[in-house]
Symmetry: C2
Amino acid sequence: MGDRTRRAILERLAVHPCPVGELAAQLPVSRPAVSQHLKVLKESGLVSDETVGTRRVYRLNPAGVQALRDQLDMFWNRALANYETAVRGDAEAADNPETEEK
Amino acid sequence: MGDRTRRAILERLAVHPCPVGELAAQLPVSRPAVSQHLKVLKESGLVSDETVGTRRVYRLNPAGVQALRDQLDMFWNRALANYETAVRGDAEAADNPETEEK
DNA sequence: CGCGACGGTAAGTCGTAACTTACTGTTCGT
DNA sequence: ACGAACAGTAAGTTACGACTTACCGTCGCG
């Protein structure tokens, strides 16, 4: 989801990799909440983690981010493209009224 | 929000403008639900409406769609850009260990 | 006019996402 | 080897978004 906390986590991770505790300290939610968010972010391929000692450092996964960005982009572009063709179709119909259905 | 019904409505409107009832007939939800979705879509500037007789025809607002698309794009680009600079910063630190803080 | 179609609004229900507290497991330090 | 720090998991609560039913206003048509 595109909720506030999720985005905040991504922004923090974009600046620099971070362990869970440090991340939670900067946010208005508890540490387990951050853990859960990180879980779904990892499942979505947006972040990756690396265990170092007793800490778990999370970092942004640029490939995943790029993939999601592209998907989003495709959706909006398709919407705009369909709109374009629809407008063009209407214009044609206006030019050739006999082409109308029914 | 990016929920299923919302996206479905946008896709339908991208193909061609539509009154509320027709829209609701194509979707698995009731008409008032569609009305509520259209309300927030209008407030977001993604659609515009025009009253014609007793009907209310909604159409896609390409400017609004473009604006949202750009915003989204900016967010993801910023994330990726920050990541880039962070990586570069780390590389510098690795090259000049004496630059490390503490 | 008054009746029927169309659509927005109010009020209430329901499901689920987000969060909390409490617990368990792993790893490092001494 | 024991204790402390750090993090994931379970269970439960809470808040919110999507949906429904019911109602009201508006326009067109006979």
